[in-house]
């Protein structure tokens, strides 16, 4: 469910870009990534129960996504930094899961191809923005720095998931640091976990903007109890 919530929530955030992207090609790309993630979320949530019940009728405290994915879009650099951090994690995670005998293995094997594309898209934009103009460099650095404290949560053990979080973190840090350096950006040095946020999303403790996001997402479904769409 934790992985399903990650995909569901990030997909929703990316969906908010529709009609607002800086170039037409990015309308297509961001929607494409959002759709892939929504597809993953639907499969993952269906393993647990009814996808719509889980998406639309749980309250904030029952969601298990990491706080990183619920962070508001901000500017394009912010969205890209969030995507770089998360897609790199997902790529490593799914690659590990695909090799296990768990129930997630078939999904992971299929999704890893999508995620490789997402990671590449985020990496290419990190390079363009980091090593673009002075303004884009400043914005990208700011985004990378401000989201850094939400990255540690991805490497907390998740109950029921047979993975090696330490190994994941080591590979993740290498890949992200290489990309940031190539983009002429400074790798953040601050803590990857805030005092308050340690593993919090996975336990249903979220940031303030998340409740508002859910209110919008769930409003129509909740207004018509029992209706089918």
């Amino acid at each position: 469910m934790a992985l399903g919530d990650d995909a569901l929530v990030l997909s929703h955030r990316l969906g908010e870009w529709a009609g607002h992207a800086p170039v037409l090609e990015e309308e297509v790309a961001l929607a494409n990534i959002a759709l892939d993630l929504l597809g993953q979320a639907r499969v993952l949530l269906s393993l647990v129960g009814d996808e719509d019940e889980l998406a639309y009728l749980r309250e904030e405290r029952a969601f298990r996504n990491v706080q990183l994915v619920e962070q508001p879009n901000g500017d394009f650099a912010h969205t890209i930094a969030r995507q770089l951090y998360f897609s790199t994690y997902q790529q490593l995670l799914y690659a590990q899961l695909a090799g296990t005998g768990s129930e997630f293995a078939p999904l992971a094997a299929k999704a890893v191809k999508e995620v490789v594309y997402h990671q590449d898209h985020a990496r290419q934009w990190t390079l363009r923005l980091g090593d673009g103009t002075e303004e884009s460099h400043t914005r990208m650095q700011r985004a990378v720095d401000s989201l850094w404290r939400y990255t540690g949560e991805m490497f907390q053990p998740v109950p029921g998931l047979d993975i090696n979080p330490q190994g994941l973190q080591t590979s993740w840090t290498t890949i992200v640091a290489d990309t940031l350096q190539e983009a002429t950006l400074t790798v953040p040095e601050g803590p990857q976990l805030g005092a308050w946020s340690a593993g919090a999303g996975r336990q249903g403790v979220h940031t303030e903007s998340f409740g508002r996001m859910l209110a919008e997402m769930q409003h129509l479904h909740r207004s018509h109890p029992g209706a089918s769409w």
Partner: protein, 340 residues
Amino acid sequence: MATATPQHRAAGARPDNTDGTAEPGDAAFQAVFDAAVAGEERIEPRDWMPDAYRATLVRQIAQHAHSEIIGMQPEANWITRAPSLRRKAILMAKVQDEAGHGLYLYGAAETLGTGRDELLDKLHSGRQKYSSIFNYPTLTWADVGAIGWLVDGAAITNQVPLCRCSYGPYARAMVRICKEESFHQRQGYELLLALSRGTEAQHAMAQDAVDRWWWPSLMMFGPPDDESAHSAQSMEWKIKRHSNDELRQRFVDICVPQAESLGLTLPDPELKWNEERGQHDFGPIDWSEFKAVLKGNGPCNEQRITQRRRAHDEGAWVREAAAAHAAKHSTTATREGRAA
């Protein structure tokens, strides 16, 4: 991308003639062009074409591309509120397709010697238009279905004949676009059907949406034939194949039985089958509303164009970054190439 002006024209320093009359030197080219159009051959980017033909196509294709881009907004308005994950996925895919259609169409317009930036600039400054239908608001979820069924339905009725349009790149773009549009239209119909057969509140929501979108959809076919400025010339050039009123009639005849099977009514008391004509009679369209919307006084004109401009302006630093990055890397590559 093909160059704007064919080689044999680029050499001559003749002034552009925009009224479509061929100059004496062009007579031979004009004859070849006329014969090609008459023979149902496709005109391609490097072929000679009358300046007015080129200008008409640029205007029409650009307006079509702009409509796809602005048309994302009323539907994207519901992405974050879609009531089920399945519907959300369908809607996201649709909005993504529209961006893709915009890209094909700007590509087709570019073969006529204009650029996407120039066209977007004309959209943003109001010098080029987009379909008036997108100036109406999406107030409920059912509007997403009504847009799919009626707006996409009207678009298809208009666009299928464009697959045989005399200008090759436009005709080919339309083949791809029509396939996806008819898929969207079926999805819209299916969305409305689910609502119509759902709870009382859902049924009412569907009926209300159809009531609000019906007349604006009929206006999508443009002014009546006797008031349509470009029709005759466009039909002669085989850009257009049927008149506005013909297509509108065809659309009404298609929609009536579909509305019936949806279990919804169309908001026109004068709508009824005419045995003699073998077509439906329908009530008069409020052309004053149409003109007001075209002039910029529809419910959402201001909002749509403001959002489009804002997305463009706020994205400027991103496009500049991409250009700066590409420039740095091409110089690096050149330098390395020279060193080696």
